[in-house]
């Protein structure tokens, strides 16, 4: 259960990081966001990843926590990536 929560946090964090890239901003909003918004998204993304690491290490100890963290971040990044593809396909159907 706690792993699932951390997973969710990682997905949100990577979503923030994705929205902080100019390519995704153009794709999703049609324009670049303000530098402040971009910076905020990026900062909250990294913060989310840090909190996730803290939660896992607190819950599982350093050894298994780091392993689980690596797994969660990999899978979360893949999920966000997939979400972005689905979103792009929906808005511009080929």
């Amino acid at each position: 259960m706690s792993t699932l929560l951390v997973m969710l946090l990682c997905v949100m964090a990577f979503a923030g990081l994705a929205l902080a890239t100019s390519r995704q901003q153009r794709e999703l909003f049609g324009r670049a966001l303000s530098p402040a918004a971009t910076c905020g998204l990026r900062a909250s993304g990294w913060l989310g990843l840090l909190i996730a690491l803290g939660l896992l290490v607190a819950g599982r100890g350093w050894a298994a926590g780091l392993v689980c963290y690596s797994g969660c971040t990999s899978l979360a990044a893949a999920l966000v990536y997939l979400g972005l593809i689905i979103q792009a396909r929906r808005t511009t159907p080929h």
Binding site: T3, R23, S70, C72, A78, L82, I85, H94
Partner: protein, 542 residues
């Protein structure tokens, strides 16, 4: 891994050389790597596969009574392995319902233990009765596990060397791949749909980058696991006397070598007391292994070793008892720094410490690694197809790669599923049954290669992928017909292993159907695209 300098290409020369290196190491080792990756991936559920393949056995218990089970099995072994210089048993866990044991033949009593020709007998035991098990003869998940680092049909050592060579190629491909990939961070979330080769590259990059920590770890630690085989010279040079070699052994494993017998008969002391002492020390640690040397002799020794669950290390921790008196002689609970490093590497690779969520993470990301190798293989043909002088009559090398891709990707799915089919269809009492199951695996793989050679490439992709999908989808039905543990029954009684297995088969069937449908949708470039949705496989599973 440093990628920041990607902003300013250092020199075209280096990157181009790395591209060549990446392409050719990836291609040459790719077919075997794909098989190693996929069979290794499913091995994270080795125990669950074994349970599914022995449906006669009742499900694993959460907390088996280990001391009593150890005693019962030891009593049986005293009879059937009488005169053996030593035996070893692995107690049941919450994932494995049976006791498995092996013992040395008395005829080979004085041969040193080696990786090669094994004068060993093995058996499974019922934890309730301590008697040898009458379940169907199968290797279960052990088959995929063994295959992924030593293959079959080759002498074991050759197989391991081959696997090591592939792993080394993989390591080269990973590092050169990182150098080739200029914009890891800029293109982190980039996917360009419907752009042919560009889309393939994006998918391959995403699969590689997201799982990069795992891919690097699994490749490197895989090499470390067999380092004594690949680089034996240090140990050979430094450790010359048997004493020194024995000291190395105690750093690496909890197996103990049989000492000289006293030739005085003495029954083994109660084993349950030893197991109780071990459990006191390590709590509810699972996967206890008991090794006995010179059983029945006054010089007997018993080692009760801690399992690899609940700790990220496989370094040996064990209690050594006098087998005749039951007295605790030694406590081994730590090893040197180098051995501990190796133990951690091995644990990271094997993932035995994982609980279920972590195990699924291992599985899914490793599946992503499989797709990474698969997309890499297919990309080789996609890239070259555009520049073929005559697309209808490609040169021999192109056709060779194309056919090998089809049979190593689509064919392997068919072979692995056929292996599971044979487990349900072969008569339970058949002689050499486990061997027959293995043969079905290789026969199915060989047939898919023949099929891939005989058919036009695109048709072969589509038809073999549909075949795999059908085999996967029908397997839960076959299970329902041939066992008394059909899916609805598993769901009702909450049998997670059987229900999870059947549902995963359907998930994989759906994945293969998606691949097949995509391969069929684009008539022109379909053959090269057939594996496109493999990109989604890391998240396409439950």
């Amino acid at each position: 891994m440093s990628t920041a300098k990607g902003m300013r290409p250092p020199s075209r020369g280096v990157r181009q050389k790395m591209t060549g290196l990446h392409t050719w190491t990836g291609l040459l080792a790719g077919w075997l790597l794909y098989a190693m990756f996929l069979t290794g991936t499913v091995s994270y559920f080795k125990e669950e596969i074994s349970q599914w393949m022995r449906p006669e056995l009742r499900p694993a218990q959460i907390a088996p009574d280990l001391p009593a089970i150890a005693q019962r099995t030891a009593d049986t072994l005293a009879l059937i392995a009488a005169g053996s210089p030593g035996w070893s048993m692995l107690l049941p866990t919450s994932r494995n319902p049976v006791v498995s044991a092996f013992w040395r033949d008395r005829d080979h009593a004085d041969q040193p233990r080696r990786h090669g020709g094994r004068p060993f007998q093995t058996a499974l035991f019922d934890p309730d009765t301590g008697k040898t098990l009458s379940a169907r003869d199968t290797l279960g998940g052990e088959f995929f596990y063994r295959f992924h680092f030593q293959f079959y049909g080759l002498p074991v050592l050759w197989g391991r060397w081959l696997a090591g060579l592939c792993a080394m190629f993989m390591l080269v491909a990973i590092i050169s791949g990182v150098i080739v990939h200029k914009k890891i961070f800029i293109d982190f979330f980039t996917f360009r749909w419907g752009k042919g080769q560009r889309s393939w590259l994006d998918a391959h990059n995403a699969l590689s980058v997201f799982g990069l920590p795992f891919h690097f770890m699994i490749t490197y630690s895989g090499l470390i696991l067999l380092m004594a085989l690949y680089m034996p010279w240090g140990a050979r040079t430094g450790l010359r006397t048997p004493m020194q070699q024995a000291a190395l052994d105690t750093q690496l494993s909890a197996y103990i070598r049989p000492g000289q017998p006293a030739h005085v008969a003495a029954p083994l002391a109660p084993m349950d007391a030893m197991v109780r002492l071990a459990r006191q020390r390590w709590g509810s640690a699972e996967g206890l292994r008991i090794t006995v040397t010179r059983p029945g002799d006054a010089a007997a020794r018993v080692a009760v070793a801690r399992g690899d669950t609940r700790r990220v290390s496989t370094s040996p921790q064990y209690l050594l008892f006098d087998g005749a008196t039951g007295e605790l002689l030694q406590v081994h609970d730590h090893v040197g720094a180098a051995a501990e490093t190796r133990g951690v590497m091995a644990a990271l690779h094997l993932g035995r410490f994982s609980d279920m969520p972590l195990r699924w993470l291992y599985f899914l990301i490793s599946l992503g690694g499989t797709a990474m190798v698969g997309t890499g293989l297919v990309m080789w043909t996609v890239k070259r197809r555009a520049s073929l002088p005559d697309p209808h009559l490609p040169h021999f090398g192109f056709r060779l790669v194309e056919r090998l891709n089809i049979s190593s990707i689509a064919g392997l799915s068919i072979a692995m599923t056929s292996y599971l089919w044979s487990n349900r269809l072969l008569p339970a009492a058949m002689a050499q049954r486990a061997d027959a199951e293995d043969k079905v695996f290789f026969a199915a793989w060989g047939l898919s290669l023949l099929y891939a050679i005989c058919r036009p490439a695109r048709r072969a992709w589509i038809e073999l992928l549909w075949t795999a999908s059908a085999l996967l989808a029908l397997l839960p039905l076959l299970n329902a017909i041939t066992t008394n543990r059909p899916l609805w029954h598993s769901l009702i009684i909450g049998d997670r292993v059987f229900a999870g297995f059947d549902l995963s088969l359907w998930a994989f069937a759906a994945l293969h159907a998606m691949l097949a449908a995509r391969a069929g949708r684009h008539p022109l470039r379909a053959a090269s695209r057939a594996a496109a949705p493999a990109r989604s496989s890391p998240v396409g599973q439950p």
